[in-house]
Symmetry: C2
């Protein structure tokens, strides 16, 4: 596999015991992976970590040094198990303060100050130096500090927060892709495909096998490159390879 | 959040560009998280990493030192982008050799040696010292080496491989859980719930909010502990807390 390192890198940190224990099925990784790819940012790694302060702080500090952008999801709600903001503040060595702007946003939800419980006010605690990120769904904001974007874990809110900041991200050349499907088992495709990959080092070729009803085997071949001309050449070589194996190349990802 | 460290720990390493780019939706994390929890093994972390040799080797070596069990999924197929076994061998500092037992298993799929292409034979390349793991779906085996279990990425095969070795894993006391749902917003629940958590340090209480049709807000509260008596006491305290807030505790996870 070629190592395309074009463009900025990103890491997603999913924070929450419930994802690790299997209770909650994550829905944020695929959304963010897809959107970042569209923006020319490579999701280089994702980590799912528990609600443990030492782990969150260490992971944040490792990842923010290693990747251009870091996104976190989860742990910014009103309950005792929401400890992300306290950990972000510690990771950055700044204070965690009740933020007047966050309070004003949250107040939109309530008709009286009496409804601002301590638990709700916890959602206004923001690391000093952070910039708030709008939450059009339920008003409690996310924020950006340094290269770290702190989002809610609920997919609808996470997506709204991401879309609110997407145009501030600086992407590289978008990665272009072509998908070609062959009704040929990977065990037959594998050797000639390796030869094609060897000829086109600037194109990343992934092979994703499928088995359909009626015993139809095959693989979808996904070619990715920021270089349109090289991508076309590699795709032509893949199509020719499939024909040489006695099958017809099908356009698109069939898996 | 309390840090329950009872019992052995595990880490899942999901290997594959396609999961990071958003093309493929992972289905292995939730399955393994659920099954390990049942077996009294705590999934402590999961990482999704790309098909890059240096990253795979470094992640393997970090995680196998840190956790009792490491599971990998993906990258053991017949194509050039399947590099997991080569990386496992390098991480352990052992040779990667064509394994006679793996070849015999794979031969079940084919009527003649002619069908054993180089690509297919790649699936018989196993790090020296590993013990094979049966693949009842398509015969190409996984394997265990040290505390690392190497599985296929295709969920049906991964699950069959896991179930084949599940009874060899040594679990701690199984974590017991109770779920209680309150039709009360987290912003109201949060403060009294934090007080209950403070009283029961041996019980991990997670709060998972929901919003249902018709404007019904609430949270499912999941209590976990290996200690049945303490779990019962904490659950009773949660029920009383919900009644004190003027609602009826509902048994079960409603999210």
């Amino acid at each position: 596999m070629t190592n395309l390192t074009v463009g900025p890198t990103a890491c997603l940190i999913l924070i929450g015991n419930e994802v690790l224990s299997g209770r909650t099925k994550d829905a944020n990784l695929q959304y963010l992976g897809t959107r970042l790819t569209e923006l020319g940012i490579r999701m280089s790694e994702a980590r799912v970590i528990p609600d443990i302060e030492t782990v969150i702080i260490a992971t944040l500090n490792e990842c923010r040094a290693k990747f251009d952008y870091v996104f976190t999801t989860g742990g910014i709600g009103p309950t005792h198990d929401d400890i992300t903001s306290a950990c972000v503040a510690k990771a950055f060595g700044v204070a965690l303060e009740r933020n007047a702007e966050a309070r004003a946003l949250l107040c939109r939800n309530y008709s009286s100050d009496k409804e601002l419980t301590e638990a709700r006010l916890k959602m206004t605690e923001i690391p000093v130096g952070a910039t708030l990120i709008d939450n059009p769904v339920s008003n409690a904001p996310g924020y950006r500090i340094g290269n770290v974007f702190v989002f809610a874990g609920i997919p609808r809110i996470m997506q709204a927060m991401f879309e609110g900041i997407a145009d501030t991200l600086v992407g590289g050349a978008p990665t272009l892709s072509q998908a070609i499907t062959a009704r040929i088992p990977e065990g037959i495709l594998g050797d000639p495909l390796a030869a094609v990959q060897a000829r086109f080092a600037d194109v990343e070729i992934g092979s994703y096998p499928f088995k359909k009803e009626g015993g139809i085997f095959g693989a979808s071949l996904i070619l990715r490159s920021p270089d349109a001309a090289k991508l076309d050449q590699a795709a032509d070589a893949v199509r020719q390879m499939i024909r040489d194996l006695g099958a017809e190349p099908l356009e698109g990802d069939m898996v």
